[in-house]
């Protein structure tokens, strides 16, 4: 939609790592913050119950609070990231927090679709590649959307799968609703056909 109209071509950043597997969308943004009617402003509640100490200060034990992880826009997370609730507030919160790309060895279907529609890159790598990134937090990566590659510090590259349509939309800031609205004639023809048959 209009929010994705900023083209995304590269993400260049050091990585922050959350090793935990199965990080669910309740963890990313707890349900009590879902009463908002806006898309914006959720970054301060991203990982709310994980990142703050009881007195409201940053909990130093939360990996993203460590100095080296601050200002990273690439998050490497444990297997099966984004499972559970379909809340789009999860990618909204991550983007507002400053994350532009999430890398894991598995990413839940609904979360992945929601992310790509909002310009948050959701990248699934092989277990070996993922393991290396988990074990090497803070490495500098350059993600090239057009090439679907991740450039490593030693010059090596990792290729990742990104379907052609999502890539096109990300690179050109194409809005998927606009694309669907162009299909109106086909939609009307389908409706006529089905309703005649009924």
């Amino acid at each position: 939609m209009s929010q994705t109209s900023q083209p995304l071509t590269y993400v260049h950043s050091r990585t922050a790592v959350l090793r935990n597997e199965n990080i669910d969308t309740d963890r990313i943004i707890p349900a009590r913050f879902l009463t908002t009617t806006e898309r914006t402003g959720l970054g301060k509640h991203c990982f709310e119950d994980w990142r703050y100490a009881a007195d409201g200060s940053d909990d130093p034990a939360f990996p993203l609070n460590q100095p080296a992880a601050r200002d990273c826009s690439i998050l490497v997370a444990g297997h099966n990231f984004g499972c559970g609730s379909s809340r789009e507030h999860a990618p909204w919160a991550l983007l507002d927090y400053g994350i532009k790309a999430v890398i894991s060895s598995e990413i839940a279907d609904i979360f992945r679709g929601n992310s790509l529609k909002n310009g948050l890159l959701a990248i699934v790598l092989s277990e070996a590649e993922h393991r290396w990134l988990l074990d090497n937090p803070g490495v500098e990566l350059r993600i090239d959307v057009a090439e679907s590659t991740i450039r490593l510090p030693d010059g090596g590259t990792i290729r990742f799968e990104l379907d052609a349509f999502s890539r096109h939309c990300l690179l050109n800031g194409v809005d998927q609703l606009g694309f669907l609205l162009q299909q109106q004639d086909a939609i009307a023809a389908y409706e006529t056909l089905v309703e005649k048959a009924a």
Binding site: A31, T37, S86, I110, D163, Q176, Q183
Partner: protein, 471 residues
């Protein structure tokens, strides 16, 4: 013609445009259900673009997530948990007026949790595609409809075009042979399935549940099974329609009547998977071996039979889950002290669920120090339960009888547990903090929940059922 699965048939019938290498398919949506939490930003998007809702007649809204389950005060003011919750509900009420959408709202005798109320009014029918900004939309797959959760951007897509851009998922058949034992329910079955295939075991797939044990399930039980497909990572779960389905639907408000009903049933009979059709993956489960099952960790794949020892942690993450839950590997979940019991939700908030819980509670008391909340899934469930006097059974036992809503399943309306409290819940998610910050959730059937309320500890309902049979 190549034999096709139920999923293939549903998919093929809704292709406005087939997918290609460069573009996803355009999938037509027959029914779009809407609630207050995941829709406001989508309506704003329509307004900002000057768009209308393409098919208001295929759109149905309800209020369920942010709504209080305590009654209004003497002035008619509802006890919303926060101003934001009240404003969110008011926003949906305004949006449905502006865009001409039917709302099962506060004044409607049909209001309820979207996945309870939708089927009840007959909006959910075999052969349909159904979406909602809610991951438990998989529930409607119990009727042989392709039903799945979507995000808010896609809610906007469906409102504006009645379509979604989709690529076809892979198919996973889960064959359940044999019969469930007495005291073992559809909830135990789906928990066992998730425990078997894992929390990500269904990612990328649409599940079809088949086999003797699935055929034997009632519609309400089938909804319980399909509801939790997403807890294994599958966006949709399907059960082929049959006589059980047709009998349940017949006469409901929104289903076809007369000759149109006969035509619809004839079409629905063609939906089941053809002999010899190909699934991408198949799993077999033996129903007769399943025991009452509960979760012991912090996701719905961490499942164990109620008397079996909690498995040892395989790694630091699992150990953290055990530490959060304050459970010990090697000890069974039966006997763990309970603080709160929650019966309700789109998983287990239907009449048969309340009947099951009441069958244990009748003539018994909730243990001292245990708080029990019973929340019907809809106004219809509430009326039916009250007609049978179930509310009196719950109240006499010391439980709270509430108004319909999602309540403590998602804990965003003020119905929540305190840090450290152990909740035996008939809902669908035991994630850290899901039922309140620091709350520890054990997912279970309504029978296990009620037995645990009486015992004050996680308990096997068969101990109570045997006593009744003996009496």
């Amino acid at each position: 013609m190549t034999p096709r699965t139920l999923f293939d048939k549903l998919w093929d019938a809704h292709q406005v445009k087939a997918e290609t290498a460069s573009t996803p398919g355009v999938l037509y949506i027959d029914l779009h259900m809407v609630h207050e939490v995941t829709s406001p930003q989508a309506f704003d998007e329509l307004r900002s673009r000057g768009l209308k809702v393409r098919r208001a007649d295929r759109t149905l809204a309800t209020l369920d997530h942010s709504t209080p389950t305590l009654p209004p005060d003497a002035d008619g003011k509802r006890p919303y948990y926060t101003k934001e919750a009240e404003a969110q509900v008011a926003k949906l009420e305004a949006n449905v007026r502006e865009f001409g959408i039917d709302l099962m709202g506060w004044d409607s005798p049909q209001r309820g949790i979207v996945h309870v109320a939708g089927p009840e009014v007959g909006a959910t029918q075999p052969g349909m595609t159904i979406v909602c900004g809610d991951s438990h939309t998989a529930t409607h797959g119990a009727f042989g409809a392709l039903a799945f959760g979507i995000g808010t951007t896609e809610v906007g897509h469906v409102l504006a075009t009645q379509c979604l851009l989709q690529r076809k998922a892979k198919s996973l058949a889960i064959h359940v042979d044999g019969a469930l034992q007495p005291g073992v329910t559809a909830k135990d079955l789906i928990l066992h399935i998730i425990g078997t295939i894992g929390i990500g075991g269904g990612t990328g797939y649409v599940i079809e549940y088949t086999g003797e044990a699935v055929r034997a399930l009632s519609m309400e039980e089938r909804m319980t099974v399909c509801n939790m497909s997403i807890e294994a990572g599958a966006r949709a779960g399907l059960i082929a329609p049959d006589e059980t389905t047709f009998a349940w639907l017949k006469g409901r408000e929104r289903v076809p009547k007369g000759e149109a009903w006969e035509r619809a049933v004839a079409a629905w009979r063609k939906l089941p998977t053809d002999e010899g059709a190909h699934y991408d993956r198949e799993v077999r489960i033996d129903a007769s071996s399943i025991q009452p099952s509960v979760t012991y960790g912090t996701h719905p794949g961490m499942v164990v039979s109620i008397h079996a020892p909690v498995p040892a942690a395989a790694d630091a993450v699992e150990q953290r889950a055990l530490d959060y839950m304050q459970v010990t590997a090697g000890k069974p979940m039966a006997g763990e002290a309970v603080d709160v019991v929650f019966v309700g939700s789109c998983t287990n908030g239907r009449l048969s669920d309340l009947q099951a819980a009441a069958s244990i509670l009748r003539g018994r008391r909730v243990a001292d120090g245990v708080r029990m909340l019973v929340v019907p899934g809809s106004e219809q469930v509430r009326r039916d339960a009250e007609r049978e006097g179930l509310h009196e059974v719950f109240r006499a036992a010391g439980a709270e009888w509430r108004e319909p809503g999602c309540s403590m399943c998602i804990a965003m309306n003020g119905d929540l547990a305190q840090p450290g409290q152990l909740v035996v819940a008939t809902s669908n998610r035991n994630f850290e903090g899901r039922q309140g910050k620091g709350a520890r959730t054990v997912l279970a059937s309504p029978l296990v929940a009620a037995a645990s309320a009486v015992a004050g500890r996680v308990a096997d309902p068969r101990e109570y059922m045997t006593q009744e049979a003996a009496a």
